[in-house]
Symmetry: C2
Subunit: 197 residues, 2 copies
Amino acid sequence: MRGTLYIMSGPSGTGKGTICRELVKTENMYLSVSSTTREKRAGETDGVTYNYTTDEHFEEMIKNGEMLEYARYDSHYYGTPRKHIEERLANGTDVMLEIEPQGAMQVKKIYPDAVMMFILPPSMWELKRRLSERGRESEEQIKERLKNARWEFSQAPYYNRIFINDDLHECVREIRRFIGETAQKRGFVEELLNEKY
Amino acid sequence: MRGTLYIMSGPSGTGKGTICRELVKTENMYLSVSSTTREKRAGETDGVTYNYTTDEHFEEMIKNGEMLEYARYDSHYYGTPRKHIEERLANGTDVMLEIEPQGAMQVKKIYPDAVMMFILPPSMWELKRRLSERGRESEEQIKERLKNARWEFSQAPYYNRIFINDDLHECVREIRRFIGETAQKRGFVEELLNEKY
């Protein structure tokens, strides 16, 4: 049986990165690594944080239809090579893609059976607090993040399931339950399709 | 807040009609009535089972883009007028559409936030038993129904949520829980969008 493609979205500061890393610890699941043309920052690892590549190579991949989805921010490309995903799904491994809503919609068109999950913060106030607390961005950048977050929230109804990350462990537990249930139901569909009658 | 559009699919004999009628008894929800050009049968009521109309009128509606989705079976048209749905959603009423997978995909393109539910039987063997028991179809027709059911099952992974109708009351309870949760999460998205921060 083919693997299931899971998509995880949610604004910066909702904790989706942490959630994804928690999930792949126990689920038999491959966490997809995006490709980017931006420079590697301190603390990042090639092949783990991102696969770092050149503009020329990235544009070559776009031209050859090798990108499942991609976007350009701040004069850099970010995207998901189709090959990494397709090989794993074909040999039965579940794949987790952590991407923003526009990319998610591109992927859903190619894989209509992808399971889309959206992470919400418990409130805008709390999201603002989390962004300020991590101290990575200026006041101005945080304002920009929050404006973008509002746009992302408006996309949540297009997802299969919405989760609220109030308590991290509770949220991960709920997502695990949902993934387990999805796997069970899809397995059951396979059984029905194989049943002699 | 706009109403939510729910789509219910599942092969003949899975009990989706009964489930929909049960759901609208307690949920504040409008069960959409399809239009058809086939003749009214004994026991059917105009405006309840279907809205009966002529080929000319139906084709006029298609031409004017008034059909949300439609299909032709056995030389008859079946479809959903867009107006009935849109008016209700706009004034905040949830709407339930009971349609087959091809129509469901047409609707999902127009309403990407529609919530798609699929009903499965506990087994092919049980589906066959149910179809035989209701005694409406010949052996040949039941074979045709089962063949079609298999095709429909293959579409289930494109839906938001799959339910197995083993015990009717348990299945309806599970769907009610799911609808309640969906409403709660969507309400929460609205709250976030309206929050001053």
